[in-house]
């Protein structure tokens, strides 16, 4: 499923809309090159979940937690080299409770995360700040295709 945005502000707004379908325990893996807008997307999701503090890239802290309508764990695996480092962070405990887990670069190590997840690929087109936002629904996320398609119809 593919959407298109014309600016960082639109990417953020799309993500903010998407937040409506998020449920406790959800895992969203964000993919895309450096500068494509993964953190922007995460900021939109956080805003949609009611987080009012600033959301920054957790590249150096690896995990940053926020409180919103649902608690959020914002993760960046960019600095990690081995799958074991992900296990050693104890992420599995995030996936079971109330939290929504957003993982920047998570698409690169999708198998370290639960099978039920959403992959969001953010791809720069050749035109200005335009982005293709591609969703892959894995496992139980497939049941939400229809709702997501409807919610984001304005960006189709």
């Amino acid at each position: 499923m593919k959407f298109r945005t014309q600016s960082a502000a639109q990417t953020r707004a799309l993500a903010e809309l998407l937040a409506e379908v998020l449920e406790p325990g959800d895992v969203v893996l964000l993919g895309g090159d450096l500068g494509s807008g993964k953190t922007t997307f995460a900021q939109g999701l956080a805003a949609g979940l009611g987080v009012d503090e600033p959301v920054t890239s957790p590249t150096y802290t690896i995990v940053q937690e926020y409180e919103g309508r649902l608690p959020i764990a914002h993760v960046d695996v960019y600095r990690l080299d081995r799958v074991q480092e992900i296990y050693d962070l104890g992420f599995e405990d995030f996936f079971d409770g109330e939290r929504v887990t957003l993982v920047e670069w998570g698409d690169v190590v999708a198998r370290a995360f639960p099978v039920d997840h959403l992959v969001v690929q953010i791809v720069a087109t050749a035109v200005g700040d335009e982005r293709d936002i591609v969703f892959e629904f894995q496992g139980r996320w497939q049941a939400r295709r229809g709702r997501v398609e409807e919610l984001l119809a304005g960006y189709a």
């Binding site: 960019y78 799958v83 074991q84 599995e92 405990d93 639960p114 039920d116």
Partner: protein
């Protein structure tokens, strides 16, 4: 002898005090149906303090500290094992580590079936092992494993014996076991590693002087990976 036992391998935080004559008391907080955020780090030390206070036991009187080492919930195990090690080191008493799956199997030793405890490992997986009842206890008849509930169901079906499945993993994924012939679920009373089993097994080991140096006691992690992250997009 006085023993303090801790098991935090599941959502249940468990603390027990026992002597060679039996349990003095125990505290259990949380469980599979408690969907609140697990709070092992916040609740364990106060639970120990409360139990010792109500039983009029001072930590200085302890002869040993026993701990369930999992496999199980990552954060819970870190909190439980670290607390046990720090207490033992400070009090200069031995630590007695016991796998939490053993603590689930032991109370079912009077059954005639295979006993299969399964601890919820998240990510739609369970930690499990297969035990047989033997006189006076249970004997493990498999490795400690990590797999999907369906992997476990397949293994049980392949053995084709009467089987009793217990643990929070069995409860959570009950649907995977319902259709198997000759398989029974042990129910909510057997969802968490048994604290009386922890006391009983640990005191027996204490009497045989089977101790471990605190520095050598580690949580049992079965989720291991040697894989490198396949970075192609990350520039040097």
């Amino acid at each position: 002898m006085l023993l303090l036992g801790i098991d935090t391998a599941t959502r249940r935080i468990g603390v027990v005090l026992a002597s060679e004559n039996g349990l003095l008391g125990r505290v259990e907080i949380g469980g599979p149906e408690d969907r609140a955020r697990p709070r092992h780090a916040e609740a364990l030390a106060p639970a120990i303090r409360y139990l010792c206070g109500e039983c009029s036991v001072s930590l200085r009187q302890l002869s040993a500290v026993a701990v369930g080492i999992g496999p199980g919930m990552f954060t819970g195990l870190r909190v439980g094992v670290t607390t046990a090690k720090v207490l033992a080191q400070t009090l200069r008493v031995p630590v007695i580590p016991i796998p939490s799956l053993d603590l689930l199997a032991y109370p079912l030793r009077h059954s005639r079936s295979l006993i299969v405890p399964a601890i919820d490992a998240r990510r739609h997986e369970v930690y499990y092992a297969i035990y047989r009842p033997v006189p006076g206890g249970v004997q493990r008849d498999s490795e400690y494993e990590l797999g999907s509930p369906d992997d476990l169901a397949g293994e049980i079906a392949a053995r084709g014996e009467e089987t009793l499945v217990c643990g929070d993993g069995a409860q959570r994924f009950a649907a995977s076991f319902h259709d198997l012939d000759r398989v029974e679920l042990a129910g909510a009373a057997h969802a968490a590693p048994s604290l009386s089993a922890l006391a009983e097994l640990a005191i027996a080991r204490y009497e045989r002087e089977e101790f471990s140096p605190p520095s050598e006691v580690l949580p049992m992690y079965l989720r291991r990976s040697d894989a490198e992250i396949a970075w192609q997009s990350r520039s040097a």
